[in-house]
Symmetry: D2
Subunit: 362 residues, 4 copies
């Protein structure tokens, strides 16, 4: 089994929601990379989301560095990041542990692990396990910044509310850095917040679509087959819980387009080749072409809703009804954006180091 | 570099459009698996598509088996499949080889390979390289059938024409096996064919969306992080040229859904756990739940259109116009379906053999 | 970069000798495997070696389990093991940190990590990092025992003193489990201990050869090319610091042998095929044949000797002399045996799970 | 299953001794690398060995390049090399196919592949499969030469005859390039040839030890744990049939050495750090230190001897005697050296490209 991703830069995840601690090992960060603990903390905060839009777990996620950092800088050897599980209320799971929560991983975990899984709070499947990914991603994002490579994500859709597209990347990226609710258009931002609040009142949840852009990537990264940039990114993105769709550039809109509309015309901008449109999302033949890499992720609504649901008792094999009590997030879309940025950063570091050598981000 | 995919079952691709031959090595096919050459041929035929809807390359793709098959059965050692490039017209590329065809990989290949790439007909990036994938996939599909696992794909969208959804899987799968134009609804099938023909007359091309279902998969396959079923499948699917989006189950529709609508209620069907809806596309927490695995792929229109396009001369760094002559496919959507089925079959074999051991498909 | 080994069972190492903590993540241990903490502790003790033969670090290596274990059993998800570095004396490294200790990794670390490595006590290269490997290996050894697979190692050579060969495996294995100084012949055991003590008095160190046997392995494990059992084991074994040679079966003795002597004749023992001799060390064509897998590892003398040595100042590029003070082990050969057993156990688990599926050791 | 080795440069092997063809796919050769077909041929000739010392298969191994080479240079995409099996006499295997030849892979193949393996001439386990490895290695060796990296191997031991050690590397390497029988000392060369001839007359075979040196490697290549240079090289070397031992530098001699003898003192040679001795074989802590990388491989005698041997009938489970008729090689030690050089070259390319990026050998 492998909870490891990446070659030249790799991440190995561990931990359960209600266990001792969660964390990851990140290997391949170039020696000398400054470890910006303040940035890690601010990313961890963004992952926790906004108080008003959440009823969920509010513990402080203090990231402890066990290895791989010396005198404030990466040594080049594996960095182990650990976050203790503080807020693990001693809830009684004995009544519900055999009831598979719909659209959660309880049933598949039961089958795969034969009843030995830690079922408390989703165990190893919990969205909480994205916390160490975000910490690792924060280190990777800072490493990429040395080469002028930046990543940002906004909510392009939530319910029936659509944000505007990215305009000026530098300005929009700066704006998103400030926002707890990552929506470019102020009016839509408020509408989405209201929508989420109303879902919270209803005991319900809502999904969304995240739109990500990466600027500053050099051309020529990726492989023609199997390890295309789309393949590598989607591999990482689809391991984020709740992500159920990934599209690059025009994505599913291509289905209704003609080649004459879809093609991105090339032109020379000084000694750089650019394209007039970017329907291909910065990737041709699986390889970056120097234009912004753009993609969107579909995020399903959190399955923990405060409503009666039909399910089964996995041990007795009987039909049952279930009311999930306790902490609920009405939406994770605004929190997921830092997870998306993080796995994107980790994947891109991997691709760049594979292409240009392990000193590229030194 | 790695043009290899998979662990317990792996595929390694090689070849260029106008080189000596193209092919692949497929490793991990269980010993004793019957090699059904007739089925391989029929899949190769489907990949070539329909005469009426194509102006493209028409060579007979004869698959030659160099190794790994003895007395008509897989030995369990690597199978090398080779297809000779017969129909490589000695076209003169000298005038156009420095002009990057828009939305093709010419420019990214130039950057990555520094001018040493075989530029004739797209070289290693050519859609032609999917031919050995289809041959390998045909072997994998037959191996999966031993366990009752079947895969089929129809065109769910082409331009603004939408096919009906899958209904009875067994019936629809049987129907699709017969069809050259894989559309479930007869009327829509004709409409799509007409649309593609009209694109052909216009010298243009059209994209589409493919909808795939896999039935018969056991529950409990896949990993919680990184090697989720979605991650592994999307990794493979995004290496198919022209695929620019992948969504599982309700996919991007989740963006507008509430949790109470989206959740798939569980129920007992005898001693099997099933879900009433299948919005999660048969996958919870990255692991199969025993329901059909369903996903859709966005396929961009073929970039070779018979129209003047703006581009650059990559050597001289000048703006140019280009008219691509020669063979054009107005659509690949109907041909791509066998490629999708093939990479799906190969990926699933890999996941199953990793989970249940290398004899699982024996 | 990858400090990860294995596919179906993988281990990821982290930590530095004088950092916060060292540890590893072990992924793929079958759900339900009992975690025998007493056995882990006893292996940790064996790794620390015998007081009388050591002047080295004596801290208690308390293994803390952060994840992957629930109610005393493996959940099947990643197990993170952490050992805090307690005994990290605040020695002053400022005078010696630029002097490359001969036959240590100081110089190669300087080149690879550009001066950012944690140089204290060898940092990530320290033999201390084998401690988490031993903890992980203890879990793997217990998992293998479920299938009757056992591993044991004795010192076959130390200086000019040679132990007898393995005789009755079961008896010898039981004996070795009891011994702090793993030598089969009592007289040789005492002679080796005396030799090591005399090296200690001289401020010198001594190397040795370890002889390992694995019994109970099924036939048919391993691959014909690249992932042969010899390849996989040697890959793991050569990552143990100080191991500089690995030979299987008759190993280097084959160089002087004729085929007629070297060949292992087959015979039927009931419904089992066995060989009369075992010159091939239980492996034919890279695959186990059901006989004991046997190999020997050459272990170089610890390079930290209490004698003046010639070296260079890596920053100033000047020739210097160096006297390494502080803790010295006159031999690690008796301690290394549990490390060898551990990496062997981890590698074999990986090979078995790949071959027979992830439930094989459940 | 994986008959693939390497990450940044990978090789995938296929083929059976008596099948249609054997070959490999080599991926990661830098674009622009000249493909020196004359050098490939000369290496293929060396692998076939000397007529006088052989009774074996004499076919001409014509290497056909199916892909990845354009205008005489590597394109950077996968290179498929194919060698047809011409000399596959239609020997009747029906009588002997169920008799496991001692020390061959017949029995382990039967267990692993359940009777579906191609048993003719050893099938996929045949030493013949090293032919494509040699062709791939020839390309890798030429790529390494661009950076001044050279590899050579001599027979250091055959029976009881020992060659002298390497002296002046450049001179000895030049000498070895000329020799069919790679022994540095002329007298010993003749003695070894005589010994092999006498084994041939006896219907017997003889083993040996190969001694390899690599010069010109930069310092700083390799990883501290798991992917040490020793680990990676031994992984590749132990997949060469007949290799049963690998030792680096002083190797097994370390077992009798003291630290004070064994340590390699550092000194400055201008702005380069060197060591006075090279007991560590150019590797400290798993990473190259800039000194020659040196190792020795134990090669077992070919198991095909023309003598009656005891064995079993694998189907009937009965004890039998066997006399292997047909082609016999009395020694492969002189032929194996090009295989060793080849897998060494392929492994080093992989390590270098991973460390310094995929353009390092361009």
């Amino acid at each position: 089994m492998k909870n490891t991703f990446g070659n030249s830069l790799s991440v190995t995840l561990f931990g359960e929601s209600h266990g001792e601690a969660i964390g990851c090992v990140i290997d391949g960060i170039s020696p000398g990379t400054e470890i910006d603990e303040a940035f890690i903390s601010s990313q961890m905060e963004k992952r926790k989301g906004i108080n008003a839009l959440s009823t969920g777990r509010r513990e402080k996620d203090q990231v402890k560095i066990l290895s791989g950092v010396f005198a404030g800088k990466a040594t080049g050897t594996p960095i182990c990041l650990v976050i203790e599980n503080a807020d693990t209320k001693s809830k009684d799971y004995s009544k519900t542990k055999d009831l598979a929560r719909p659209s959660h991983a309880d049933y598949t975990a039961e089958i795969k692990y034969g009843g030995f899984q830690d079922y408390r709070g989703g165990g190893h499947f919990s969205g909480r396990i994205t916390a160490p990914l975000v910490a690792a991603g924060a280190i990777a994002m800072k490493a990429l910044e040395k080469k002028g490579i930046k990543i940002a994500t906004h909510i392009s859709l939530c319910g029936d509310i659509a944000d505007r597209d990215f305009g000026n990347y530098e300005e929009d990226f700066a704006l998103l850095e400030e926002l707890e609710m990552p929506v470019l258009c102020e009016k839509k931002r408020e509408e989405m917040a209201s929508l989420i609040e109303s879902c919270k009142r209803d005991g319900d949840s809502i999904g969304g679509v995240l739109d990500t852009a990466v600027i500053g990537l050099p051309a020529g990264v990726g492989e023609p087959w199997f390890d295309t940039v789309e393949s590598m990114l989607s591999h990482a993105l689809f391991s984020v819980p709740a992500v159920k769709g990934v599209e690059f550039g025009a994505g599913f809109s291509f289905g209704s387009m003609r080649g004459s509309q879809a093609n991105d015309a090339f032109y020379c901008d000084g000694d750089t080749v650019k394209t007039k449109t970017n329907n291909n999302g910065g990737i041709n033949g699986g390889i970056t072409n120097g234009m912004p890499v753009t993609f969107r992720c579909a995020v399903k609504p959190t399955p923990s809703v405060y409503k009666k649901q039909e399910t089964v008792n996995m041990k007795r094999m009987t039909d049952e009804t279930l009311l999930i009590e306790g902490r609920h997030d009405p939406a994770i879309i605004h929190r997921a954006r830092v997870v998306i940025d993080s796995v994107t950063a980790l994947t891109l570091c991997d691709l760049l180091l594979t292409r240009f050598g392990t000193d590229y981000l030194r």
